[in-house]
Protein backbone atom coordinates (compact mmCIF):
# COMPACT_ATOMS: atom_id res chain seq x y z
CA UNK A 1 0.00 0.00 0.00
CA UNK A 2 1.27 3.42 -0.91
CA UNK A 3 0.70 5.14 2.42
CA UNK A 4 2.51 2.34 4.20
CA UNK A 5 5.56 2.65 1.97
CA UNK A 6 5.55 6.41 2.46
CA UNK A 7 5.35 5.95 6.21
CA UNK A 8 8.28 3.57 6.17
CA UNK A 9 10.28 6.03 4.07
CA UNK A 10 9.42 8.94 6.31
CA UNK A 11 10.66 7.01 9.32
CA UNK A 12 13.88 6.33 7.45
CA UNK A 13 13.59 2.59 7.91
CA UNK A 14 15.06 1.63 4.58
CA UNK A 15 18.63 2.02 5.75
CA UNK A 16 20.67 -0.86 4.38
CA UNK A 17 23.30 -1.77 6.93
CA UNK A 18 24.88 -5.17 7.38
CA UNK A 19 26.65 -6.17 10.54
CA UNK A 20 29.29 -8.86 10.72
CA UNK A 21 31.12 -10.13 13.77
CA UNK A 22 33.73 -12.01 11.78
CA UNK A 23 36.49 -9.39 11.39
CA UNK A 24 36.71 -7.81 14.82
CA UNK A 25 35.62 -4.31 13.75
CA UNK A 26 33.50 -2.93 16.62
CA UNK A 27 29.81 -2.95 15.70
CA UNK A 28 29.28 0.77 16.41
CA UNK A 29 32.17 1.46 13.98
CA UNK A 30 30.48 -0.65 11.30
CA UNK A 31 27.27 1.37 11.72
CA UNK A 32 29.23 4.65 11.52
CA UNK A 33 31.18 3.54 8.43
CA UNK A 34 28.14 2.28 6.59
CA UNK A 35 26.03 5.37 7.26
CA UNK A 36 28.95 7.50 6.02
CA UNK A 37 29.11 5.26 2.97
CA UNK A 38 25.36 5.56 2.33
CA UNK A 39 25.67 9.36 2.50
CA UNK A 40 28.78 9.48 0.31
CA UNK A 41 27.17 7.28 -2.32
CA UNK A 42 24.03 9.41 -2.36
CA UNK A 43 21.70 6.74 -0.98
CA UNK A 44 21.10 8.93 2.06
CA UNK A 45 20.74 12.66 1.48
CA UNK A 46 20.76 15.85 3.55
CA UNK A 47 17.56 16.04 5.55
CA UNK A 48 16.84 12.29 5.47
CA UNK A 49 15.81 10.88 8.80
CA UNK A 50 17.75 7.98 10.26
CA UNK A 51 15.73 5.21 11.89
CA UNK A 52 15.02 5.64 15.62
CA UNK A 53 17.63 3.89 17.78
CA UNK A 54 15.26 1.12 18.90
CA UNK A 55 14.07 0.45 15.37
CA UNK A 56 17.58 0.15 13.94
CA UNK A 57 18.70 -2.00 16.90
CA UNK A 58 15.79 -4.38 16.35
CA UNK A 59 16.41 -4.46 12.59
CA UNK A 60 20.13 -5.21 12.91
CA UNK A 61 19.74 -7.34 16.06
CA UNK A 62 22.32 -5.33 17.96
CA UNK A 63 22.32 -3.64 21.34
CA UNK A 64 20.45 -0.27 21.29
CA UNK A 65 23.35 1.33 23.20
CA UNK A 66 25.61 0.44 20.27
CA UNK A 67 23.32 2.28 17.84
CA UNK A 68 23.18 5.21 20.26
CA UNK A 69 26.98 5.33 20.34
CA UNK A 70 27.20 5.25 16.53
CA UNK A 71 24.68 8.12 16.27
CA UNK A 72 26.66 10.09 18.88
CA UNK A 73 29.87 9.68 16.86
CA UNK A 74 28.12 10.75 13.65
CA UNK A 75 26.63 13.75 15.46
CA UNK A 76 30.03 14.79 16.87
CA UNK A 77 31.49 14.58 13.36
CA UNK A 78 28.67 16.85 12.11
CA UNK A 79 27.35 14.23 9.72
CA UNK A 80 23.95 13.93 11.37
CA UNK A 81 22.03 16.23 13.69
CA UNK A 82 19.30 15.86 16.25
CA UNK A 83 16.20 17.96 15.80
CA UNK A 84 13.85 19.22 18.41
CA UNK A 85 11.19 16.86 17.14
CA UNK A 86 13.36 14.03 18.49
CA UNK A 87 14.77 12.50 15.37
CA UNK A 88 18.21 12.11 13.86
CA UNK A 89 18.70 13.61 10.42
CA UNK A 90 21.50 13.74 7.87
CA UNK A 91 23.06 17.22 8.18
CA UNK A 92 22.85 19.90 5.50
CA UNK A 93 26.58 20.54 5.55
CA UNK A 94 27.23 16.90 4.81
CA UNK A 95 28.65 17.52 1.32
CA UNK A 96 32.35 18.47 1.82
CA UNK A 97 32.68 15.59 4.21
CA UNK A 98 30.80 13.37 1.83
CA UNK A 99 33.36 14.29 -0.84
CA UNK A 100 36.23 13.32 1.45
CA UNK A 101 34.46 10.08 2.24
CA UNK A 102 33.97 9.36 -1.45
CA UNK A 103 37.66 9.82 -2.15
CA UNK A 104 38.50 7.65 0.85
CA UNK A 105 36.19 4.85 -0.29
CA UNK A 106 37.61 4.93 -3.83
CA UNK A 107 41.18 5.01 -2.51
CA UNK A 108 40.52 1.83 -0.52
CA UNK A 109 39.10 0.09 -3.59
CA UNK A 110 42.07 1.20 -5.67
CA UNK A 111 44.50 -0.12 -3.06
CA UNK A 112 42.83 -3.53 -3.27
CA UNK A 113 42.97 -3.44 -7.07
CA UNK A 114 46.64 -2.47 -7.10
CA UNK A 115 47.53 -5.19 -4.59
CA UNK A 116 45.86 -7.78 -6.83
CA UNK A 117 47.57 -6.39 -9.91
CA UNK A 118 50.97 -6.71 -8.22
CA UNK A 119 50.20 -10.31 -7.22
CA UNK A 120 49.24 -11.13 -10.81
CA UNK A 121 52.30 -9.38 -12.20
CA UNK A 122 50.24 -6.81 -14.13
CA UNK A 123 52.02 -3.46 -14.55
CA UNK A 124 50.53 -0.13 -13.49
CA UNK A 125 50.41 1.00 -17.13
CA UNK A 126 48.34 -2.03 -18.08
CA UNK A 127 46.02 -1.41 -15.11
CA UNK A 128 45.50 2.20 -16.26
CA UNK A 129 44.78 1.02 -19.80
CA UNK A 130 42.32 -1.53 -18.48
CA UNK A 131 40.56 1.13 -16.35
CA UNK A 132 40.22 3.32 -19.46
CA UNK A 133 38.93 0.37 -21.51
CA UNK A 134 36.32 -0.52 -18.91
CA UNK A 135 35.26 3.12 -18.70
CA UNK A 136 34.79 3.26 -22.48
CA UNK A 137 32.87 -0.03 -22.47
CA UNK A 138 30.49 1.24 -19.77
CA UNK A 139 30.01 4.55 -21.60
CA UNK A 140 29.15 2.88 -24.92
CA UNK A 141 26.77 0.46 -23.18
CA UNK A 142 25.04 3.46 -21.59
CA UNK A 143 24.74 5.25 -24.91
CA UNK A 144 23.01 2.23 -26.44
CA UNK A 145 20.30 2.21 -23.74
Amino acid sequence: MFWLAADVLRRGMLVQIHITTSDGVPIYQQVVNQIKFLIASGRLNSGDELPPIRVLAAQLLINPNTVARAYRELETAGIVEKRRTAGTYVSEQGSPLARRERVKILAERIDTLLAEAIHMGVSIDDVMKLVQQRHDAIQSARNEE
Partner: protein, 300 residues
Protein backbone atom coordinates in the same frame (compact mmCIF):
# COMPACT_ATOMS: atom_id res chain seq x y z
CA UNK B 1 19.38 9.88 24.46
CA UNK B 2 18.97 6.19 24.89
CA UNK B 3 18.79 5.36 28.55
CA UNK B 4 19.12 1.65 29.31
CA UNK B 5 22.85 1.90 30.00
CA UNK B 6 23.93 -0.38 32.85
CA UNK B 7 23.66 1.84 35.91
CA UNK B 8 26.03 2.28 38.82
CA UNK B 9 23.14 1.70 41.27
CA UNK B 10 23.20 -1.47 43.35
CA UNK B 11 23.62 -4.54 41.15
CA UNK B 12 20.61 -6.68 40.30
CA UNK B 13 22.63 -9.84 40.96
CA UNK B 14 25.37 -9.89 43.58
CA UNK B 15 27.44 -13.03 44.13
CA UNK B 16 30.22 -13.27 46.73
CA UNK B 17 32.70 -16.09 47.23
CA UNK B 18 30.34 -18.73 45.83
CA UNK B 19 31.71 -22.28 45.92
CA UNK B 20 29.80 -25.35 44.77
CA UNK B 21 30.99 -28.93 44.67
CA UNK B 22 29.27 -31.95 43.18
CA UNK B 23 31.04 -34.80 44.97
CA UNK B 24 34.75 -34.25 44.34
CA UNK B 25 34.15 -32.01 41.38
CA UNK B 26 34.39 -28.26 42.00
CA UNK B 27 31.78 -26.60 39.76
CA UNK B 28 32.13 -23.07 41.15
CA UNK B 29 35.27 -21.96 42.91
CA UNK B 30 35.06 -18.89 45.19
CA UNK B 31 33.25 -16.98 42.45
CA UNK B 32 32.22 -13.34 42.82
CA UNK B 33 30.18 -11.44 40.24
CA UNK B 34 28.02 -8.33 39.96
CA UNK B 35 25.40 -7.98 37.26
CA UNK B 36 24.46 -4.29 37.00
CA UNK B 37 20.85 -3.21 36.62
CA UNK B 38 19.84 -2.47 33.03
CA UNK B 39 21.38 -3.70 29.80
CA UNK B 40 22.44 -7.10 28.56
CA UNK B 41 24.98 -9.16 30.47
CA UNK B 42 26.63 -12.02 28.55
CA UNK B 43 28.06 -14.96 30.44
CA UNK B 44 30.47 -16.90 28.26
CA UNK B 45 32.38 -20.06 28.87
CA UNK B 46 33.01 -23.51 27.43
CA UNK B 47 31.08 -26.67 28.23
CA UNK B 48 31.36 -27.50 31.92
CA UNK B 49 32.76 -24.06 32.80
CA UNK B 50 30.01 -23.57 35.40
CA UNK B 51 27.52 -21.32 33.55
CA UNK B 52 24.42 -23.40 34.23
CA UNK B 53 25.40 -24.08 37.86
CA UNK B 54 25.83 -20.34 38.38
CA UNK B 55 22.45 -19.58 36.82
CA UNK B 56 20.75 -22.24 38.98
CA UNK B 57 22.05 -20.42 42.06
CA UNK B 58 20.64 -17.14 40.79
CA UNK B 59 17.24 -18.80 40.36
CA UNK B 60 17.38 -20.36 43.83
CA UNK B 61 17.38 -23.88 42.36
CA UNK B 62 20.70 -24.56 44.13
CA UNK B 63 21.64 -23.40 47.61
CA UNK B 64 25.06 -21.80 48.14
CA UNK B 65 27.39 -24.25 49.92
CA UNK B 66 29.78 -21.39 50.61
CA UNK B 67 29.42 -17.69 49.91
CA UNK B 68 26.28 -15.74 49.11
CA UNK B 69 23.87 -15.01 46.27
CA UNK B 70 21.58 -11.99 46.19
CA UNK B 71 19.06 -11.11 43.49
CA UNK B 72 17.19 -7.80 43.86
CA UNK B 73 18.99 -7.70 47.22
CA UNK B 74 17.17 -10.89 48.32
CA UNK B 75 18.29 -14.47 48.88
CA UNK B 76 16.54 -16.46 46.13
CA UNK B 77 16.55 -19.68 48.21
CA UNK B 78 14.94 -18.05 51.27
CA UNK B 79 12.62 -15.78 49.30
CA UNK B 80 11.58 -17.56 46.09
CA UNK B 81 8.31 -15.61 45.86
CA UNK B 82 10.09 -12.25 46.06
CA UNK B 83 12.63 -13.21 43.42
CA UNK B 84 11.18 -15.76 40.97
CA UNK B 85 8.08 -13.64 40.40
CA UNK B 86 10.32 -10.92 38.97
CA UNK B 87 12.50 -13.21 36.82
CA UNK B 88 11.74 -14.65 33.38
CA UNK B 89 13.71 -17.80 32.69
CA UNK B 90 14.40 -19.95 29.65
CA UNK B 91 16.71 -22.92 30.02
CA UNK B 92 18.64 -24.79 27.38
CA UNK B 93 16.45 -27.87 27.92
CA UNK B 94 13.32 -25.68 27.69
CA UNK B 95 11.51 -27.86 30.24
CA UNK B 96 7.81 -27.40 29.57
CA UNK B 97 4.85 -29.54 30.59
CA UNK B 98 4.56 -31.83 27.55
CA UNK B 99 0.96 -32.82 28.15
CA UNK B 100 -0.39 -29.26 27.98
CA UNK B 101 -1.61 -27.38 24.95
CA UNK B 102 -0.02 -24.00 24.16
CA UNK B 103 -3.15 -22.14 25.35
CA UNK B 104 -3.12 -24.09 28.62
CA UNK B 105 0.58 -23.38 29.15
CA UNK B 106 -0.12 -19.67 28.77
CA UNK B 107 -3.05 -19.70 31.23
CA UNK B 108 -1.14 -21.92 33.67
CA UNK B 109 1.97 -19.69 33.69
CA UNK B 110 -0.13 -16.54 33.89
CA UNK B 111 -1.50 -17.68 37.28
CA UNK B 112 1.96 -17.35 38.85
CA UNK B 113 2.61 -13.79 37.75
CA UNK B 114 0.52 -10.81 38.90
CA UNK B 115 2.21 -8.63 36.24
CA UNK B 116 1.23 -10.90 33.37
CA UNK B 117 0.50 -8.85 30.24
CA UNK B 118 -2.27 -10.55 28.25
CA UNK B 119 -2.00 -8.44 25.15
CA UNK B 120 1.80 -8.83 25.03
CA UNK B 121 1.41 -12.62 25.41
CA UNK B 122 -1.09 -12.67 22.54
CA UNK B 123 1.15 -10.47 20.39
CA UNK B 124 4.09 -12.82 20.99
CA UNK B 125 1.95 -15.91 20.32
CA UNK B 126 0.87 -14.50 16.97
CA UNK B 127 4.32 -13.31 15.92
CA UNK B 128 5.80 -16.70 16.90
CA UNK B 129 3.00 -18.44 14.99
CA UNK B 130 2.12 -20.68 17.95
CA UNK B 131 -1.19 -22.56 17.71
CA UNK B 132 -3.13 -22.39 21.00
CA UNK B 133 -4.48 -25.90 20.47
CA UNK B 134 -1.14 -27.56 19.70
CA UNK B 135 0.20 -29.94 22.34
CA UNK B 136 3.63 -28.98 23.69
CA UNK B 137 4.98 -32.46 23.00
CA UNK B 138 4.14 -32.15 19.29
CA UNK B 139 6.00 -28.84 18.86
CA UNK B 140 9.20 -28.66 16.83
CA UNK B 141 12.37 -27.74 18.68
CA UNK B 142 12.10 -24.16 17.43
CA UNK B 143 8.41 -23.78 18.34
CA UNK B 144 9.13 -25.24 21.75
CA UNK B 145 11.83 -22.60 22.29
CA UNK B 146 9.40 -19.89 21.17
CA UNK B 147 6.73 -21.17 23.61
CA UNK B 148 9.33 -21.12 26.40
CA UNK B 149 10.36 -17.62 25.41
CA UNK B 150 6.74 -16.42 25.38
CA UNK B 151 6.07 -17.55 28.96
CA UNK B 152 9.45 -16.12 30.07
CA UNK B 153 8.66 -12.71 28.57
CA UNK B 154 4.93 -12.12 28.98
CA UNK B 155 5.08 -11.03 32.63
CA UNK B 156 7.60 -8.36 31.62
CA UNK B 157 10.21 -9.51 34.16
CA UNK B 158 12.74 -7.11 35.67
CA UNK B 159 15.38 -9.74 35.02
CA UNK B 160 15.32 -12.08 32.03
CA UNK B 161 17.64 -15.08 32.43
CA UNK B 162 18.42 -17.15 29.35
CA UNK B 163 20.67 -20.19 29.66
CA UNK B 164 22.11 -21.09 26.24
CA UNK B 165 18.87 -19.94 24.60
CA UNK B 166 20.10 -20.47 21.02
CA UNK B 167 21.61 -23.89 21.50
CA UNK B 168 20.52 -26.28 18.76
CA UNK B 169 18.16 -23.80 17.09
CA UNK B 170 17.94 -22.66 13.49
CA UNK B 171 18.83 -19.05 12.55
CA UNK B 172 15.19 -17.94 12.28
CA UNK B 173 14.40 -18.87 15.88
CA UNK B 174 17.74 -17.42 17.01
CA UNK B 175 16.69 -14.11 15.45
CA UNK B 176 13.46 -14.18 17.49
CA UNK B 177 15.47 -14.75 20.65
CA UNK B 178 17.92 -11.92 19.93
CA UNK B 179 14.99 -9.67 18.99
CA UNK B 180 13.33 -10.48 22.33
CA UNK B 181 16.54 -9.64 24.21
CA UNK B 182 16.78 -6.28 22.45
CA UNK B 183 13.11 -5.49 23.05
CA UNK B 184 13.45 -6.38 26.71
CA UNK B 185 16.23 -3.90 27.42
CA UNK B 186 14.68 -1.23 25.20
CA UNK B 187 12.15 -0.94 28.04
CA UNK B 188 13.90 1.18 30.61
CA UNK B 189 15.57 -0.45 33.57
CA UNK B 190 15.17 -4.06 32.56
CA UNK B 191 18.07 -6.47 32.60
CA UNK B 192 18.96 -9.54 30.57
CA UNK B 193 21.47 -12.13 31.74
CA UNK B 194 22.24 -14.72 29.12
CA UNK B 195 24.80 -17.44 28.78
CA UNK B 196 26.01 -18.58 25.40
CA UNK B 197 28.84 -20.21 23.59
CA UNK B 198 27.75 -18.49 20.35
CA UNK B 199 30.05 -15.54 20.76
CA UNK B 200 28.91 -13.66 17.68
CA UNK B 201 25.48 -13.37 19.32
CA UNK B 202 27.04 -12.16 22.56
CA UNK B 203 29.12 -9.61 20.66
CA UNK B 204 25.98 -8.26 18.98
CA UNK B 205 23.79 -7.78 22.01
CA UNK B 206 25.81 -7.69 25.24
CA UNK B 207 26.78 -4.46 27.06
CA UNK B 208 28.89 -6.39 29.54
CA UNK B 209 30.58 -9.74 29.45
CA UNK B 210 31.99 -12.17 32.00
CA UNK B 211 34.21 -15.05 30.96
CA UNK B 212 33.79 -18.07 33.22
CA UNK B 213 36.34 -20.89 33.20
CA UNK B 214 36.80 -23.78 35.63
CA UNK B 215 34.17 -22.26 37.92
CA UNK B 216 35.91 -18.90 38.18
CA UNK B 217 35.42 -15.52 36.53
CA UNK B 218 38.48 -14.92 34.33
CA UNK B 219 37.45 -11.48 33.15
CA UNK B 220 34.48 -9.17 33.45
CA UNK B 221 34.24 -5.85 31.63
CA UNK B 222 32.07 -3.85 29.27
CA UNK B 223 32.04 -5.08 25.69
CA UNK B 224 33.54 -1.73 24.69
CA UNK B 225 36.51 -2.16 27.06
CA UNK B 226 37.08 -5.75 26.03
CA UNK B 227 37.12 -4.84 22.34
CA UNK B 228 39.34 -1.80 22.86
CA UNK B 229 41.82 -3.55 25.12
CA UNK B 230 42.53 -6.61 22.98
CA UNK B 231 44.38 -6.34 19.71
CA UNK B 232 46.31 -8.45 17.31
CA UNK B 233 49.68 -6.82 16.69
CA UNK B 234 52.31 -7.98 14.23
CA UNK B 235 55.88 -6.90 14.94
CA UNK B 236 58.82 -6.94 12.57
CA UNK B 237 62.34 -7.35 13.93
CA UNK B 238 65.64 -6.55 12.25
CA UNK B 239 66.92 -10.07 12.60
CA UNK B 240 65.39 -13.49 12.23
CA UNK B 241 64.42 -14.91 15.64
CA UNK B 242 63.85 -18.46 16.81
CA UNK B 243 61.48 -17.44 19.53
CA UNK B 244 59.34 -14.30 19.91
CA UNK B 245 60.72 -11.79 22.45
CA UNK B 246 58.51 -11.28 25.49
CA UNK B 247 56.06 -8.42 24.85
CA UNK B 248 54.48 -6.79 27.91
CA UNK B 249 50.72 -7.37 27.82
CA UNK B 250 50.78 -10.19 25.29
CA UNK B 251 48.56 -13.23 25.87
CA UNK B 252 49.93 -15.39 23.07
CA UNK B 253 52.21 -15.23 20.06
CA UNK B 254 52.75 -16.99 16.76
CA UNK B 255 55.10 -16.43 13.85
CA UNK B 256 58.55 -17.12 12.55
CA UNK B 257 61.71 -15.35 11.43
CA UNK B 258 61.41 -11.58 11.47
CA UNK B 259 57.64 -11.29 11.90
CA UNK B 260 55.76 -12.31 15.03
CA UNK B 261 52.08 -11.80 15.79
CA UNK B 262 50.89 -11.23 19.35
CA UNK B 263 47.43 -11.25 20.86
CA UNK B 264 47.69 -8.39 23.34
CA UNK B 265 45.82 -6.86 26.21
CA UNK B 266 46.40 -3.14 26.67
CA UNK B 267 46.18 0.34 25.17
CA UNK B 268 47.65 0.69 21.69
CA UNK B 269 50.05 3.47 22.77
CA UNK B 270 51.45 1.27 25.55
CA UNK B 271 51.86 -1.63 23.16
CA UNK B 272 53.77 0.54 20.70
CA UNK B 273 56.17 1.58 23.45
CA UNK B 274 56.54 -2.01 24.64
CA UNK B 275 57.25 -3.12 21.05
CA UNK B 276 59.89 -0.43 20.63
CA UNK B 277 61.53 -1.48 23.89
CA UNK B 278 62.17 -4.98 22.50
CA UNK B 279 63.35 -3.69 19.13
CA UNK B 280 60.22 -4.43 17.10
CA UNK B 281 58.19 -2.23 14.76
CA UNK B 282 54.41 -2.56 14.54
CA UNK B 283 53.69 -3.50 10.92
CA UNK B 284 50.08 -4.51 11.36
CA UNK B 285 47.42 -4.19 14.03
CA UNK B 286 43.81 -5.24 14.07
CA UNK B 287 40.80 -5.54 16.32
CA UNK B 288 39.83 -9.01 17.49
CA UNK B 289 36.51 -10.77 17.46
CA UNK B 290 35.07 -11.78 20.83
CA UNK B 291 35.70 -15.35 19.74
CA UNK B 292 39.44 -14.73 19.34
CA UNK B 293 39.60 -12.86 22.65
CA UNK B 294 37.80 -15.68 24.43
CA UNK B 295 40.12 -18.34 23.01
CA UNK B 296 43.26 -16.37 23.88
CA UNK B 297 41.97 -15.94 27.44
CA UNK B 298 41.03 -19.57 27.92
CA UNK B 299 43.91 -21.34 26.20
CA UNK B 300 46.90 -19.30 27.33
Amino acid sequence: MFDSVPSSASPIVEIRGLTRKFGDKVALNDLSLDVPRGGVFGLIGGNGAGKTTLIKHILGMLKAQQGSVHVFGLDPVKDPVGTLGRIGYLSEERELPDWMRVGELIRYTQAFFPNWDDSYAEELRESFDLDKKARIKTLSRGQRARAGLLVALAHRPELLVLDEPSSGLDPVVRRDILGAIIRTIADEGRTVLFSSHLLDEVERVADRVAIIHHGQIMLTASMEEIKEQHRRVTLRFDQSLDRPPELVGSLSSTGQGKEWTYICNGEMSQLRNAAEAIGGTVVEEAALTLDEIFISRILF
